[in-house]
């Protein structure tokens, strides 16, 4: 499997090099990717929990505005 490509721009010389990530960069990228995917999953769970809560409130005849009126 090819590794992601990174671009290195040396602005002193003007040299621009596109190359595959080296070992250290690839290891860090895998860490970043795992964290980002976990964060995305957490956001999905948070959004799902919100929808479920709103559905429960609606079943009880309570709206979000009612909760705000109570200072909640």
């Amino acid at each position: 499997m090819n590794r992601p490509i990174v671009r290195m721009h040396n602005t002193e010389t003007g040299e621009i090099v596109d190359r595959e990530m080296n070992d250290a960069e690839f290891a860090q990228w895998q860490i970043d990717k795992a964290q980002a995917e976990a964060q995305a999953q957490a956001e999905i769970q948070k959004a799902t929990a919100k929808l479920n809560a709103e559905a429960k409130l609606q079943a009880l005849g309570i709206t979000a505005d009612d909760l705000k009126a109570l200072g909640l």
Partner: protein, 280 residues
């Protein structure tokens, strides 16, 4: 008895004529003979004369008002007085340098920008996962990194910025967000992180995303680097676009020598550029 010289026969030792040699004029063979200096050829104390192709070879000659031309060795060299009555050479400076005074003598120095903002570099982002741009902010009080008009090849990718390829937990950030198709969000933040990251899963269909970061004292090796940022993005989980802004601290006393802008997950950029400015 007086003897007439006109009728006399010349005897040994008599002068029969005077001929003006080089540098003289006049002369003759009888009567009063006058010789004059030819001022077209000979310099006197009173006449003005231009010397052409003449060389004074001994460097030890002291000629008031005359400077040895070997004092200047290079095109653009200048002559100044390093002391009273002491000519000295000032070698030509580098392109862009200006003449200044240091310790009482002239010298060449890098021009101060005199305030304002100067474009240092432009980097096309291209179809890559991350871009690292070297930064030389010598002489500037702050640096602006403007990541402009970028887009991604696929959605769902948070973005990050790191300095000096440092992926240790040396970054703090706080932020506020507005837009994104929802109510404004409260200020947020977190503990130390390994980057200055977006909190947004960025869409791929927006080509005018912008992320601007300003960093103070990029060359000061005695303080942490503090900055602020503003971004305009479109988040994948929401229906609209929005703005994030906030501050960050890069807990390092190293000078900022590079910035890396990248995608945390899969995919690549598909457009955009990075401009780095020096600010005074």
């Amino acid at each position: 008895m007086t003897r007439s010289r006109d009728n006399a026969t010349n005897v040994a030792g008599d002068i029969s004529g005077v001929t003006a040699g080089t540098g003289l004029s006049g002369g003759g063979t009888g009567g009063t003979v006058t010789l004059s200096v030819d001022t077209a050829l000979v310099a006197t104390t009173s006449n003005t004369m231009t010397l052409t192709n003449k060389t004074i070879s001994a460097s030890s000659n002291t000629l008031s008002g005359v400077i040895n031309n070997t004092l200047t060795t290079t095109t653009g060299d200048m002559i100044y007085a390093s002391g009273a009555n002491t000519p000295a050479r000032l070698g030509i400076g580098s392109s862009g340098q200006v003449l200044t005074v240091a310790s009482g003598i002239p010298s060449w120095a890098t021009a101060s920008s005199g305030g304002g903002i100067t474009l240092l570099s432009t980097t096309n982002i291209g179809s890559v996962t991350s871009v690292t741009v070297s930064i030389n902010a010598t002489g500037y009080e702050s640096v602006r990194i403007a990541i402009r008009d970028f887009s991604l090849s696929s959605s769902g990718n948070p973005l990050f910025v790191r300095f000096n390829s440092d992926s240790n937990n040396n970054y703090f950030r706080t932020n506020t967000k507005s837009g994104f198709g929802q109510s404004d969000e409260a200020a947020g933040g977190g503990g130390s992180a390994s980057k200055v990251g977006t909190t947004s899963q960025v869409r791929n269909n927006q080509t005018d995303s912008v992320w601007i970061l300003d960093i103070l004292n990029p060359n000061d090796t005695t303080v942490f680097k503090v900055g602020h940022f503003t971004s305009y993005l479109q988040r994948i989980n929401d229906s609209g676009d929005g703005c994030e802004s906030g501050g960050f601290t890069y807990k390092s006393t190293s000078a900022i020598t590079s910035v890396t802008f990248g995608i945390e997950t899969s995919g690549t950029f598909s457009a955009g550029d990075i401009k780095v400015y020096g600010i005074n």
